[in-house]
Symmetry: C2
Subunit: 217 residues, 2 copies
């Protein structure tokens, strides 16, 4: 890539990829997954995608999902759909929500070991299927069907999500995310700087474009 | 005001003010307090400010502040300061944080009953004092000093925050906010639509400018 010919502010070559952590059951991750590559590309960066289980990150941080609190739940269900519309994306709140997503995430890591681009394509396919068509990614038969539609070998995908190797790989990804300070999704790390939430897009853009914001104090 | 000559989308005349809920101890409320009037003015709206106690809203929604969770705390302390810089505002994390803010809030409601503009000026003075100079608004002597600096009768301000009338007024404001669905701060209600968080500024701007976003589903 051309931009690797230029040193970044720290003088490192090439510029570090954006670390992007998502959960297949996170609406704000779905929204972010639709812009993160474009934002990165505008600034000569790549994106390293990490499928994680948000439940594990919540547990480590002693947090609960926003929909666990009735009053907040009502708001965020409205905000999921509104934020998607704001971003120009289709959205349909899945009937079953949230769902366990370990199988979809293990397929991600299985693909990632072969070809990161295919893993990213799978991530997008899974997020779109769940959040625009309500495909329950926790249903084995429907997840296999989605794998098939995505050009994968469905039997091999199922074998992967039942394989201790890919279970362990997802566990390692969760542990690494937690160790990096991830406590929600989407979560981004840009040159060591953590950004939590789809609504940090503008800050990420400016950080990528001109570095840390100047202080006024 | 000129814009009141035109009906809004609902045909109502004049356009409803933006409801803006804040707590004197909320960093994101401080940031929002610095842009909410300008955003409203661009769209021919006024702002109705509501000083509330976030603790009461959290309790009603069974929530805790983000700094109550150690891992999240580390992130949000960084994000407070970064988000202020992003907005071009000075910020200094107060040593004591969060603090009880009922006295500052009662002074707000006492002023509001006399002249809403003076209440808004007090809100800004309090938020700026706490978040840029670390003035502990929970310290009676320093709060009186701030009242004096703000052109108020400091003794009368102290009498107000000890007066059952203004205690009751704040309680009523909290109850009304909770009844309106407020569970965090800053919180905005625009023509019945709730927006939570300083980071909903863009959505609020678009909503004010062109109404509800069009769906794509």
């Amino acid at each position: 890539m051309l931009e690797t010919a230029f040193p970044d502010r720290a003088g490192a070559l090439p510029r570090a990829p954006i670390q992007f952590y998502f959960d297949f059951s996170s609406p704000y991750s779905y929204i972010a997954s639709e812009w993160v590559e474009a934002v990165a590309a505008r600034h000569g960066r790549r994106v390293q995608w990490h499928a994680i289980l948000l439940g594990a990150a919540f547990q480590a941080a002693e947090l609960k999902p926003p929909v666990a609190y009735p009053i907040k739940r009502e708001y965020v269900l409205r905000d999921f759909e509104r934020s998607a519309r704001f971003a120009g994306l289709p959205y349909r709140q899945p009937d079953e929500f949230p769902i366990p997503t370990q199988n979809a995430a293990r397929v991600f890591w299985w693909l990632q070991a072969q070809d990161p681009a295919r893993a990213v394509a799978w991530a997008r396919a899974g997020l779109r299927a769940y959040f625009t068509r309500g495909v329950p990614l926790n249903d084995a038969a429907q997840l296999k069907q989605l794998a098939l539609e995505s050009g994968l070998d469905a039997e091999a995908a199922e074998a992967a999500w039942n394989d201790p190797q890919w279970k362990a790989r997802l566990k390692a990804a969760n542990d690494a995310a937690i160790a990096a300070g991830v406590f929600g999704a989407p979560f981004f790390i840009v040159d060591g700087e953590p950004f939590w939430g789809n609504d940090r897009q503008q800050q990420i853009e400016r950080w990528l474009g001109s570095g840390p914001f100047k202080g006024m104090v």
